[in-house]
């Protein structure tokens, strides 16, 4: 049994449970299934993005452009919807995913082919993507009355008691869970992050793996872009501003090592849910929402200090100076 529930995830899971119980002890309404479903639905975009960020961080990179990618894709699909209201939703979703993946690929190529440090690349593309939103939209908003009902209605459609947005997040978690554990790509991601030199010797192309990690992260950001814009029924330049750091925070709280190679899908999901529960619990227990930023900051510090303490088993470096050029 212990094999399936790793210690770190168990601790984080219990922390979330205790948090929910504490809130429930004062406000029983918080644990009503409908409210918990609401909290989950509210956290769904963060969960989806955290999965993509997890893959990138596992390969020793970081993607700071996810929120800008989300906003640009959201604006693009919103404008497409305004121009062509009869375009079916599956086509819109396909466009969103491809556009997002394309932007991820730009990051990936710069990291893979030019070996520019990922933090520099994504800092740059982050500002560029945000700027492009302004260029294509002229700084204007796309409001709910301009979007077609089908466009805004899709993420809110209730299927088997949960909105589609939640189902998308659940599907993404399952797909990524299988991908990380059961596919060659998933295992090579861990190999690249764990020891790039050894990964080269086992025939894994480090740069290419990082490229596909960025594509995956970009595709998820694109998908979330549509869901976000449709759910809030508004698109403008600054949507999801600063969200990239919340996504990184979810990963860090979830025990994904920023040095790469260590982490799990369960961790990323729990990290995102932790932040989501905190965010939704604050107004319930009558704490000003202005506390949220400081609380998530402290959570990051506690989580990283805790993870470093538990994971201090240093391996010996056997293959020291392999060529990582290919």
């Amino acid at each position: 049994m212990m094999r399936f529930i790793p210690v770190r995830e168990a601790i984080l899971g219990s922390a979330i449970l205790i948090l929910i119980i504490l809130v429930a002890s004062r406000f029983a309404g918080f644990v009503e299934p409908s409210n918990l479903a609401n909290v989950f639905n509210d956290t769904a975009p963060l969960i989806i993005l955290a999965l993509g960020q997890m893959v990138v961080i596992l390969t020793r990179c970081i993607d700071l452009s996810v929120a800008a990618n989300l906003a640009l894709t959201g604006m693009a699909v919103a404008m497409i919807n305004v121009a062509m209201p009869e375009l079916p939703i599956p086509v819109i979703i396909a466009i969103a995913i491809m556009l997002g993946a394309f932007m991820g690929a730009i990051n990936g190529v710069l990291v893979w082919k030019l070996s520019i440090p990922p933090i520099v690349v994504t800092l740059g593309t982050m500002t560029i993507f945000r700027g492009i939103i302004f260029l294509i939209s002229d700084g204007k908003w796309v409001n709910s009355h301009e979007m077609s009902p089908a466009f805004t209605g899709f993420p809110r459609t209730v299927l088997l008691g949960l909105p589609v947005l939640s189902w998308v997040a659940i599907t993404a978690v399952i797909v990524f869970g299988i991908m990380m554990a059961r596919t060659q790509f998933g295992r090579s991601i861990f190999a690249v992050g764990g020891n790039p030199h050894a990964a080269v010797y086992t025939g894994i192309n480090v740069g290419k793996t990082q490229f596909w990690a960025f594509v995956a992260s970009g595709a998820l950001a694109g998908l979330t872009g549509y869901l976000w814009v449709a759910r809030y029924a508004v698109a403008y330049v600054d949507i999801a501003g600063g969200f990239e750091l919340e996504v990184v925070a979810a990963c860090v709280i979830g025990g994904i090592s920023i040095a790469g190679g260590i982490g799990s899908v369960g961790g990323a999901v729990l990290g995102a849910i932790f932040l989501g529960v905190v965010k939704n619990a604050l107004p319930v227990v009558n704490i000003s929402p202005f506390w949220q930023l400081a609380i998530s900051g402290s959570a990051i510090l506690i989580a990283v200090a805790f993870n470093a303490r538990s994971g201090r088993t240093k391996g010996r470096i056997i293959l020291k100076s392999a060529e990582v050029t290919q």
């Binding site: 800092l123 500002t127 560029i128 260029l135 700084g139 400081a294 900051g297 470093a308």
Partner: protein, 333 residues
């Protein structure tokens, strides 16, 4: 692999100092500055005006003060993403003190102290607990600004004493601002510190090989701790200048500035992975960013579009030389 190693041309003389200077990153940046300057003076008739140019310096002086300390930190292999939040917290503390009737000297002391304390907080987590600085400072970035939000909410602090406005609005002589003076002094101090002192050599050594530095007798953790203190202190100085210039404090003050500071440092030729970089490079990068934003502003280009240029500049200046090397290598093969 062996073939390329054998065919590597071994030069029979060292490149002369002039060639090295000419081929350096700083020379390239300087050419970019001159090009921007010339293009701007043709593009707008208002560009070549002493007062306009003086106003333009506000675009970069505060960021550059932090960028110098950040450059040392990045050269040593660490990073501090919490600088903008330190500004917010220091500014909030000063605003709070004003409500209790603090005067200008107290305000300056408070700003600097809060900066130092925040830097020390980061430093403790990174050097004593041994945590990765990027994660720690993403955490403190939320924490410091979060405290500002807790204190201020959606309110603002105003009513700074009139003598306090000297820092951000004062002029030393003709068009030369007080901030410009600070910028020059701080640049000189950091240039000497990095390029002419033992401490500076230690910073490079740590960035290139922390273990090697430790074995050669450098107190690696202590040096890193001092660098975090310096970055905090500089954020305090920037907070004083910015608060004085704006005359009010909101919790969203200086938001996003950390990324502009890092952009400035990287643009200045500092290796984001640590180990190399110069202060003159950062100074020129500050001018590049300042002149680009100012010139585009005169042409009525909105701020967000300017950020596209900054982003392209950041990626372009790193990508182009690498592309060049790749193409040259391919042509040879």
């Amino acid at each position: 692999m062996t073939e390329t190693a054998n065919s590597r041309r071994i030069p029979d003389h060292l490149t002369s100092r002039a060639t090295r200077v000419f081929k350096s990153w700083e020379a390239l940046l300087l050419a970019v500055v001159i090009a921007i300057f010339v293009i701007n003076s043709f593009a707008s008739p208002y560009f070549l005006n002493a007062w306009n140019l003086s106003d333009a310096t506000f675009n970069f002086t505060e960021k550059a003060m932090i960028a110098f300390a950040m450059a040392l930190l990045i050269i040593s292999g660490e990073i501090d993403l919490s600088v903008a939040s330190i500004i917010a917290l220091a500014s909030t503390a000063m605003g709070l003190a004003v409500q209790y009737g603090a005067g200008t000297p107290e305000l300056v002391a408070i700003g600097l102290t809060v900066g130092l304390l925040c830097g020390a907080f980061n430093g403790v987590f990174v050097t004593i607990l041994g945590l990765p600085s990027i994660v720690v400072t993403i955490g403190t970035m939320s924490l410091f600004r979060g405290i500002s939000y807790i204190i201020l909410g959606d309110d603002a602090f105003r009513g700074y004493p009139s003598s306090f406005s000297w820092f951000g609005q004062g002029y030393i002589y003709w068009v030369f601002t007080v901030e410009m003076l600070f910028f020059v002094i701080i640049a000189v101090i950091y240039a000497v510190l990095l390029h002419k002192s033992n401490f500076g050599r230690a910073v490079y050594a740590i960035g290139n090989n922390p273990t090697g530095a430790l074995f050669s007798g450098i107190r690696v953790q202590r040096v890193k701790f001092i660098l975090f203190l310096l970055t905090g202190l500089m954020s305090g100085v920037a907070a004083i200048c910015l608060t004085s210039r704006l005359g009010s404090t909101r919790p969203s003050i200086a938001s996003g500035m950390e990324l502009e500071v890092v952009t400035m440092v990287v643009l200045g030729g500092v290796n984001i992975l640590g180990g190399s970089g110069t202060i003159p490079g950062v100074v020129i990068a500050a001018f590049v960013m300042g002149l680009v934003t100012f010139g585009l502003g005169l042409l009525n280009v909105p701020g967000i579009v300017m950020s596209i240029f900054i982003g392209l500049l950041l990626i372009g200046v790193i990508a182009l030389p690498r592309l060049w090397v790749m193409i040259a290598a391919r042509r040879k093969a």
